[in-house]
Amino acid sequence: MLELKKVSAGYGAFKALFDIDMSVQAGEAVGVIGPNGAGKTTLLRVISGLIRPWSGTITLNGQEIGGKPAYEIVAAGIAHVPENRRLFPRLTVEENLKIGAFVHSARGQLRERLAWVYDLFPRLKERRNQLAETLSGGEQQMCAIARALMSRPTILLMDEPSAGLAPVIVDQVFELVQRIREEGFTVLIVEQNIQSLLDVVERAYLLEVGTIKLAGTAAEMREHPFVRTAYLGM
């Protein structure tokens, strides 16, 4: 459903992605791994329209979305949970969620959507009138994911949802991801926490210095000698 063909992108004169080919099927969970600075975040940014691709095509259900502004891409059904969560610190939890429902298709259903995400994340309901900056790291991550879900995306992009969280909380985050999958969402996750990631995704790509070095099912990746030595430390 999401398809990237020979996508290149970068910042200023600096090229960070080189001819990326990648696809995500409906209902699938796909992971992207790679060392720091590989271009993982850049990849998500170019899909969600935060930066424009330099070349190549990005299609969603056959429709070209490459180069469209971010606000149109959200409306087309791609939501992005950015790196470091990026909640609006001085808006309340509920306001953060409400702004996630800014797209026209979501506005009419604010109540239902809120009830639904509160159902998914009861903790957020308890804290809905609290300023986002006062949430704990784990709660902030929940809130960021919930905010993205408010637009009822067809694909959810997540950038290192477990970064900076204590091990117990990391496990909770991956449980969350699992739950979201069970709700029927298609997800594309960037993670450093490769063990746990490979438990929740079906396929994964390995990105190194802006190119895709390896691709395969979770099991294949886990068994691959290169991944094992370089990333899983075995």
Binding site: L50, P69, A70, Y71, R86, P89, R90, L91, I99, S151
Partner: protein, 284 residues
């Protein structure tokens, strides 16, 4: 207590209402778009001339003239954004300062060209209220009440509507705003239009108190600026409060010292505050 001092203080608070409008307008633009509109109070001047033309020139009822003037300045605010600010959004902040400074020259001179530097007024003077030996200006009382109502409306807009929410969110993190499905250009345009509307409203309230001349913006501009910095640039609540604090300082020191020097004192205080509390007196 000395009734003259009390009178000065009450008038100071009443004056604060209009300053609060302008401070919030400028602070909103600053916080959301992150540009400095040097020419903001010139929009007030334009609004005052608009009312003058519509009321004294065309003979429209005052209320109608005011409504049209507010609409006109609202559009002008948006135009300033789309024509001048939008093309240089990514330039260094100083360019934006310079461009709006050019706008200041332009608006003042254009008004001089059209209306000369003669003082004009619409010939409406509201009587003073007498209250236990004190004279309270009705025009100021009216301005105060209307300003408070307007600020309340703005609060409700920012608090409860989608675009209001978007505008507040942008001020906190402008880079990911697209991910929420918000078109930043619209949000900026709306913000500038609101800024214009507040300036237009201030014009309606001030036209009842002051004569109109092309440089009248100079009499409010620096004060409004100072209020913004006092309250913390971009901080709406801080700006609102500091508008009252500053106008009270001016009223009281104007009572004890001379008016000219009281303004100079206020600016000197401003400089010192910038040293120690560059984010405003309410910052931690």
């Amino acid at each position: 207590m000395d009734t003259f001092l009390l009178e000065a203080m009450i008038n100071g608070i009443l004056l604060g209402g209009v300053f609060a409008l302008l401070t919030i307008g400028l602070n909103l633009i600053f916080g959301v778009i992150d540009v400095v509109w040097i020419a903001y109070t010139e929009l007030v001047m334009v609004g005052m001339y608009a009312i003058y033309c519509l009321y004294s020139g065309l003979g429209l009822p005052l209320l109608v003239a005011c409504l049209i003037a507010v609409a006109f300045v609202t559009v002008l605010g948006a135009l300033v954004h789309f024509l001048i600010i939008a093309p240089i959004l990514d330039s260094p902040p100083i360019n934006q300062l310079l461009a709006t400074g050019g706008l200041l020259f332009f608006l003042q001179s254009f008004a001089t060209l059209l209306f000369t530097t003669d003082f004009r007024n619409i010939g409406v003077r509201l009587p003073s209220l007498q209250l236990g030996g004190m004279f309270i200006s009705t025009a100021r009382l009216l301005a105060f009440i209307v300003a408070l109502i307007a600020v309340t409306c703005l609060y409700l807009f920012l608090k409860y509507t989608y675009w209001g929410l978007a505008i507040r969110a942008i001020a906190q993190d402008r880079h990911i705003i697209g991910l929420m499905g918000i078109d930043q250009r619209w949000a900026y345009g709306i913000t500038s239009a609101i800024g214009g509307a507040l300036a237009g409203l201030a014009a309606c309230l001030l036209v009842l108190q002051y004569d109109i001349q092309p440089f009248i913006g100079n009499s409010f501009g620096p004060i409004v600026w100072m209020n913004c910095v006092f309250g913390g640039l971009g901080n709406l609540v801080g700006g609102f409060l500091s508008a009252f604090i500053v106008s009270e300082i001016i009223a009281i020191s104007g009572y004890y010292i001379s008016t000219d020097l009281s303004y100079a004192c206020a600016f000197a205080a401003f400089i010192v505050i910038m040293f120690f509390k560059p984010r405003g007196i309410f910052s931690k």
